[in-house]
Homo-oligomer: 391 residues x 2
């Protein structure tokens, strides 16, 4: 026991708080150590040491600490006290090897460049990761952050009970490999292609689109434009399809511009293009996080007032949109709820709850209405609606 303290920069005395049942217990560990030829570094007390010190078998120690077996409370308490006194910590590796459970969940984010996180979806990811961590912890699991397209080494070096994948790409090799190994995978976002995930959680993007378009119409919009992406992920696809669908239903000619969503500059250019069109929309919804500022800047360049001349909504989790001039209405995907749901489904799959049935869970979104999409503002004089410039 003292030896352990010698090598540590620890200033308090080697004798801990007074404990009952004190015996020269570490001698057992000492003998044990002496019997082993390999001199390892800092010797931690193992289950054997506890068993020897408590005068029972290792079976009894294991059972006592794990609440299993048929043991009277006296034995259980005694073993626990001894374990405590020796500072015994079970080896996670040994337990994992034996039980096949590591208590570890992978959190995988798709990477666009070298860095493991995408910046475009950062606020979303941050909140999602936060809630996922919370949810996992609450059920006794910890999250390991892993990049989707990493060196394979890292992936195979960590024992995962399951993995959460955010926006998996088509035929993601990592996901396929994990599933092939029998490791449950749950994705945030509908998997494209036929990626064999066990479950997924996604927002109801079609419903969200309809609600936004209706909201803009209610606010007086006559021609609603869309800023969308060229990529083929489900979010973009579903949203754009819902927009086109809505246009057809209400009889509006679609007015949209698409750009590669992962290119931060392209958004501003596309926003400009959209407002430069002869059939300029009097309301725009931007599918991606930076579109709010992009559109606001473009509107300024064209001398358009928001919301008087142009109504604006964008999909984002950024708190900053509450304090822009004017504040911009946003659609929140509620990443916190998603993160929680994904983790719950994954752990259910890991623990065999729900019979391993694949599950799809569609989550609602939140439309946060701010000044940018309201013609009638509470604290302002009512401005008469302006006729749209092109129709």
């Amino acid at each position: 026991m003292q030896k352990r303290y010698f090598s540590l920069p620890c200033s308090h005395p080697p004798n801990g708080p007074p404990e009952p049942y004190y015996q020269p217990a570490m001698t057992a560990a000492g003998n044990h150590q002496a019997s082993r030829s390999t001199g390892r570094r800092l010797e931690r007390a193992g289950i054997r040491d506890v068993a020897a010190a408590a005068g029972v078998s290792i079976t009894t120690v294991s059972d006592a600490l794990n609440g299993k077996g048929r043991l009277p409370d006296t034995t259980r308490r005694h073993v626990r006290e001894v374990a405590n006194r020796l500072g015994y910590r079970p080896s996670a590796a040994a337990r994992t090897l034996r039980t096949g459970r590591s208590g570890l969940i992978g959190l995988t984010v798709t990477t666009y460049g070298e860095e493991p996180f995408t910046f475009t979806e950062f606020a979303y990811f941050a909140e999602m990761a936060r809630s996922a961590t919370s949810a996992a912890l609450a059920r006794g699991y910890a999250l390991v952050i892993l990049p989707a397209s990493s060196h394979h080494d890292v992936w195979s070096n960590v024992a995962l009970d399951g993995t959460v994948v955010i926006d998996p790409s088509d035929h993601d090799p990592v996901v396929t490999d994990l599933v092939r190994q029998g490791i449950p995978v749950v994705s945030d976002g509908r998997p494209t292609g036929n990626l064999p995930v066990h479950a997924w959680v996604d927002n109801d993007h079609e419903d969200a689109m309809r609600r936004i378009l209706d909201h803009l119409t209610d606010a007086g919009a006559r021609r609603i434009g869309l800023l969308t992406g060229t990529s083929t992920d489900t979010y973009t696809r579903l949203s754009t399809a819902a927009y086109l669908d809505w246009c057809e239903r209400v009889g509006q000619e679609p007015v949209y511009e698409s750009y590669p969503a992962h290119d931060p500059c392209a958004g501003a250019v596309a926003a400009d293009r959209l407002l430069a069109r002869p059939d300029r929309p009097d309301a725009v919804y931007g599918l991606f996080d930076p579109n709010g500022t992009d559109l606001l800047a473009a509107a300024r360049r064209y001398g358009l007032r928001v919301p008087e001349d142009l109504l604006l909504v964008c999909c984002s989790e950024r708190a900053a949109y509450a304090t822009t001039e004017p504040p911009i209405s946003t659609l929140s995907l509620k990443p916190g709820r998603i993160g929680t749901a994904v983790v719950q489904l994954l752990i259910d799959a890991i623990e065999g709850i729900g019979a391993g049935q694949p599950v799809q869970q569609v989550m609602p979104t939140d439309l946060i209405v701010r000044a940018s999409s309201q013609r009638r503002q509470p604290r302002t004089t009512v401005s008469s609606p302006r006729p749209p410039s092109g129709g």
Copy 2:
């Protein structure tokens, strides 16, 4: 191989993409399985199966795959091919148990409430975590997110090679326990008390404070106020001390208000208090992330123009401060660099590089000067400096 697919909600045919070298290889695993009495779930190929299939011993397999031992390239290649064909993945748990290395690093964030992340430092934490993850991955380690004051269970359930602690509190029980187990701990932020971390990384807060105060003076400030915290963490302590020191040196009466930094509302109140004082400062530095908006709002309430009547700087990583009206100068702690440095030090300690000497590393900060702290603005007419209202 087919059996594995049966239990999966996988819609594509059981035969994957065409693979070279296909043989009924799983029979090896099958026999292996048959020889064992316990019928476990999905059988993964183990090193034994590879050895049997390749017609060599498990030692040879291990050596071939790990690049060790004395093996001719032919054997090595052969073993690798067989391993590949069987889809062999070494068991991380077994490796960890045997080698004592898990390749896992804990990332611990102090929690104020129930949630594992602090919101106040969120932009800082996000960037720090991102870069720490990158740095760890680059050296073959993965990060596990763990809350500082969590159920002890989670901590002892994961085999950690080391831990990064962000802003450890006084005598943190988790840190003390980890160190007692001989697990290297490196902290972001100087440890308070005599917490026995192996190394720490921190910004040069005194230097930062001096630079900011000098900058504000250069911009015309006559009386510089400080918005600071009541807590006793080193950041607050060092910064406040440096401020007082500077005041004494230049002969200015200190003008500061402190508030509990973890209370989001208190900041706005304290900002108000600061500007309501009879000896109102004509420049303010806010130590915490939200202080920029707090102070801007307070200035508006008092009819003070920024930067004409009040110069403003605050310590934050928020990108949003670049687009406020006016844009606010910020001090960036460069969390990316910190995250990288912390991880490097930790992995050095884990791998025994640097002889286990405790290391302290002080990192520079970045002052990002924006309109809020410049009386002379590039694109504006020069406004004559106003006399400070109180002195």
